[in-house]
């Protein structure tokens, strides 16, 4: 890593979100639509930032350790289901409900981690099994009805820009603290790139893995609650209907990895999420059909990956040209 001046680092990290914003604003101008037209647009933007940031954290925590997790969506669904049902029965407000969702989701993550640690089945397969299992649980728990809290104005009232910012900020802060400034985090980072050495040195891998699953689960609990509070309802899904949410996290994860070269990787993920949120907002503002959305998102993912995996070649060509010119 070359030492770069702080300002340059900052500019490079903001490059992607700013570029996305500029391009989208240009398109908006062309279409005669304003990207941030009203409070609803801002709300959509910050909700998307919160959702995507947390989901990407949840995915990357385990993926960085080579543990693929298909169960994220199922965890979010089941925790929101349990928390929502209890909120309905006990009449509790949004914050206690959020706390329950997080606690339940952390527990679900822990169980997932426990099954993995006990059976030693490859994590990707465990996660498939757990995704099915949790979908089944949520269905059985509500008899398939899901949760409807549309009349609970207090819980729906949680969906404000302020709360979204608060939740995102707290989550980013906690995650940065946990993974960069604690013993758990130090051990985690050691395990990520040097599993064998770390274990031989005496780092407790099983404990760390369980911790990761619990944290990842807890994040999905927040995501589940945000979506519950947003629509006031939680729909059920069966037969892997819940795994789609994972795919939204790939692009921000790669963008986060790229930005992470210049600043803290976890902040990078958040900036990646900001870029994605802008795109989501644009889709909504431009009233883009969902098949077009899928294709555009997929193309962006592929294009970014092409750049990432051929950066050396692309940059050296670019530089070579420059040198030739000068």
């Amino acid at each position: 890593m070359k030492k770069r001046p702080l300002l340059k680092k900052l500019l490079l990290s903001l490059l992607i979100p700013c570029a996305v914003l500029l391009v989208l604003e240009a398109i908006a101008l062309g279409k005669g639509v304003r990207l941030f037209a009203n409070a609803d647009s801002w709300k959509l933007f910050f909700r998307a930032v919160a959702n995507v940031t947390l989901t990407t954290f949840a995915l990357s925590i385990n993926l960085d350790s080579g543990r693929f997790d298909f169960s994220l969506g199922a965890v979010s669904m089941l925790s929101a289901t349990v928390a929502g049902t209890l909120a309905q029965q006990w009449g509790i407000g949004p914050w206690p409900t959020l706390a329950i969702a997080v606690a339940v989701a952390a527990l679900l993550g822990l169980i997932h981690g426990g099954v993995y640690v006990l059976t030693r089945i490859p994590p990707i397969i465990v996660s498939l099994g757990m995704a099915l299992f949790y979908e089944g649980c949520a269905f059985a728990f509500t008899g398939g009805k899901g949760v409807s809290l549309v009349t609970r104005t207090d819980i729906i009232g949680f969906s404000t820009i302020g709360n979204y910012i608060l939740v995102t900020a707290v989550a980013v802060a906690l995650i940065v603290l946990l993974f960069d400034f604690t013993r758990f985090g130090a051990n985690y980072r050691a395990l990520v790139s040097g599993q064998k050495i770390a274990v031989e040195t005496g780092i407790h891998e099983v404990g760390n893995a369980l911790g990761c699953y619990a944290v990842s689960g807890a994040l999905m609990g927040v995501v589940g609650f945000i979506s519950l509070a947003n629509t006031g309802s939680q729909q059920m899904a069966l037969n892997f209907g819940s795994i789609g949410i994972m795919f939204t996290a790939f692009l921000p994860m790669f963008i986060g990895g790229w930005i992470g070269r210049y600043i803290n990787k976890r902040v990078g993920i958040m900036l990646g999420a900001v870029s994605m949120a802008l795109i989501s907002l644009a889709f909504a503002r431009f009233d883009t059909a969902s098949s077009v959305q899928s294709i555009v998102s997929a193309l962006l993912l592929v294009l970014f990956l092409i750049y990432l995996n051929n950066e050396f070649a692309i940059l050296s060509k670019f530089r070579g040209k420059k040198e030739a010119e000068s």
Partner: protein, 395 residues
Amino acid sequence: MKNLKRFLSLALCLMLALACVPAMADGHVKIGVLVSDATSSEALAFRAYYTEYIAKAYGVEFIYSDELTDAAGEKSAIDNFIVNNCKAVISFSSFDRPSQIDQCDAAGIYYAVATGTLSDEQYNEYKDYETYVGAIGPSNQIEFQAGYDMAAYYIDQGMTKFGMFGGAVPYYNDMHIYRAAGMLAAMVEKGGEGANYKGADNAGAIIGQIYADGSIEPCTIGSLELAAYVGGYDFNDAWFGKLAQMVGTEGIQAILTVGSGVDVLGGFISGSGVKLATVDSFTPAMKEAMDNGILDYMAGKFAASIGPIFAAMLNAVNGQPIRDGEGNALALGQGYWVATSAEQFAEYSAVDSSMTDPAYTKEILDQYAAAGVSYDDFAEFVSKYSFDEIVALKK
């Protein structure tokens, strides 16, 4: 030989699990149920009526399919019913009805459609199949009418600016397209002189236009305005954003939905003052939404509306099928209960949610699940589906 031991233990586990399976080989009638929706409140209400009321009352067993997503799934599910020695299949799934009928006919088991109807062409082909019991449910015309009524209800109140949620319209779903077309047709009809939707000014043209576009475009229809439209079930940030935007549209008065209105829009409607109308069922969640003013208008199929088709099926299984004078199978329409006030809703849902005294009880059904019931008697029975008629019937 650790692996072998593990296998033995797995085998043992399976055996133990099987020991828990109640031996249900007492020769009762098994009926397979095809469902393409296992989670909507309507589907769950139907399922509860069959498995918790009818199954106990008549000593039959219902075997439900998984949530089907395509014709191949339907075929596999019917195969599974045949394996289970089901005597009959009741279908809530419509990816490929002709093939379902053919498959059941080949296996010699009875088949009935519980929601929707066959097209005329299909009916003509299958009406004289011995195993085809028939269809009872809202036809496309009734779906169209449900949409029409919903829109007309608000236009007649003087409202002019609407939003619309099209559900499965982008997936070319007939039921949702007809409902949406009904709404547009009401706007065209009541929008004053020369009102049209993208040039279409009659039912057929509107339906054709929606099929051609796979979508609906916001536009002015005469003096009325369709200010916003959202379709699909993407459940992603952009989609939720579009829904929120629609509710936030300046001056919008009512949002007409072809279904799932409360589930997808309830959170945004809350406190906005916009009226929400939907097609759903009489569940506690909907009742609460109605009580709290989130839901303003609901057309719903009552859970027991699938009682008559069961009665007809039972007759067929017992060797006394209901056929018309020419020996043709049933083809009967059945519409919705519409609630526009909390009181009305409370009344409906009290009857509808009861598992001891549902709209169609065993006593009522028994009158028609019997030998010698004529096609006309049965048709008259089914046609009296409105709430008041059923309450009268119960007395």
